[in-house]
Symmetry: none
Subunit: 238 residues, 2 copies
Amino acid sequence: MPESVLPPIRVLVVEDEPLAAEAHAVYVGRLAGFELVGTAGTGQDAFRRVAAAASAGVPIDLVLMDMNLPDSHGLDVSRRIRAAGLATDIIAITAVRDLENVRGAIAAGVVQYLIKPFTYSTFAAKLTSYRHFRRELNEQASVVTQSAVDHAFASLRAPADISRPKGLADSTLNAVVAYLQAQAAPVSASELMKPLGLSRVTARRYLEYLADLGLVLRAPRYGTPGRPENEYSWTNAR
Amino acid sequence: MPESVLPPIRVLVVEDEPLAAEAHAVYVGRLAGFELVGTAGTGQDAFRRVAAAASAGVPIDLVLMDMNLPDSHGLDVSRRIRAAGLATDIIAITAVRDLENVRGAIAAGVVQYLIKPFTYSTFAAKLTSYRHFRRELNEQASVVTQSAVDHAFASLRAPADISRPKGLADSTLNAVVAYLQAQAAPVSASELMKPLGLSRVTARRYLEYLADLGLVLRAPRYGTPGRPENEYSWTNAR
DNA sequence: CACGGTTGCGGTCATATTGTTCACGAGCCG
DNA sequence: CGGCTCGTGAACAATATGACCGCAACCGTG
C-alpha cells in the first residue's frame, strides 16, 4: 500500500509587532513539515487571508494567532473564522494568561495555547505535536474506531517528549540513521539487529522514535507467518 | 481540594431521537458533578436554549450534541454558538465517522468526539475526563502558567477507554477500509488478499468484523462453481 | 428428474514470529 | 562509591499464516 509523502502544513502567522512576527516566521521555517504562507498584522487582514486562501483552493491549515491585535482581539478573529466554517486550526499566542482568556480560547476552538515569552523548544514542541496530530488523521482512510479518534485528539495535547531523545543515545541514533539512509529497501527491526549489532528491542526503539518524528515511514509487512513485522524506510522528502 | 465546593457542570442534551435523548439524559444524571438542564430536539432549539441560559446568567457549560439533527447539522449549530461568543463546551455524538467530520468537529472547537453506539463506560470516561479538565482550570488562580495550560489541554483530550476487539490491528483495519472505499464493486475475501498482501483468513476476519459492525454489506455470490463466495461492499450509509 | 461427484470457499486451530514490558547489568559521570 | 543512562534477555501478549475439514452450490450421469 503506497504511502504518500505528506504535503507540508501551510501556516499563517498573525502578529502585529514586526519583530515578533519575524521571529515566529523564522521559527516556522526552521521546522520540517511546515510551510509559511505569510504574515498578517491585523485581525482584518488575517481573516481576509484565511478566507481568500480557502476559496482559492489552497487552504491555510494552521494559524498562529496573537491575541492582542490593533484592530480586534484574536478570539474575535477566531470566532469569525469559525462562523465562516473554515477548516483552519488555530494556535493562540499571547502574553495574557488569565483564566477567562484560556476558557474563551477553548470555546473558540483553539487547538493550543502558547504563553509569551516562550523558547524555541516550547514552540517547536507545540507545532510538532500538531504535526503529529495531522499525520495521524491523514493515515486513516476513514476514521473507523473510537480509539482512532481518541488517539488523534490526544496527540493534540502538549507533550514534552518531542525532540528530546530520552533513553536514546546519539551515537546509536546516528548509526541507525546512517544505515537506513544507505539502504534502499525498507528495513525491519530484526533485519537491523544483525548489521548494527543491536538487540531487537533496542533496534525497534530507535526505529519507532524516528517514525514518530516522521523521518521514516512505517508499514506492516504481511505475507509471512507470525505477527506482522513493521518495516521502516527513510523518507527522502525534505 | 474539596470537590464539593465546585458547582455542578450544567449539561444540555441535544438529540432528536427521543429514545437516545432519554438514554443520554439518564447517563448524565448518573454521573456525579453533572446537572442536566434539559434536552433539545432541534438545532434551533439547542441554540436558543444555550443563548437564553447565557443571558439569564446561568450559562450551560457543556452540550452533548448529536450531529444529525432534523433542521440542521450539529456542526452548524456549534459554529453558531461559537460565532455568538458563548463560552460553552461541546462534545460531539454521532454515528458518522468519516475524516471530514472529525476534522470539521475539531475546527468547530468540539472538545470530544463520541462515536455511536457507545457503552456507558465510554460515555462516563469522556465526561469524567472533561470534569477533570474543568476542575484543573478552576483550581488555578486568575494567573496561569504554560504548564498549567498544557495540563488542562491534555486532560481535555485525554483518551478514554477503548474497545477495539483483540486480535485486530488498527493498521490492517485501516488498510482494509481504505481499499473497500476505493473499490466501487463488491469485493470478496480472496480478491482482497492479493492487493493488500493478506492471507484469506485474515482478510475474511476483518471483513467479517466490519460486516458485524454494519459498515459493510455481505452477500453471497452465486453462479460460480464451488461453495458460494461472500462478497463485501462498503455501505455509503448517511 | 434425482442423485452422487466435484469444486472451491467458509470456518477453526495450531503455529510462527514479532511487538511490548520489565528487571537487571554494564558503562559513565560526579 | 552512588546514581544515572542505556542496552539486553527473557517472559508475555498480539496477530497473521497454513493446514485441515466441512459445506453449499454447480455438473454430470442414470
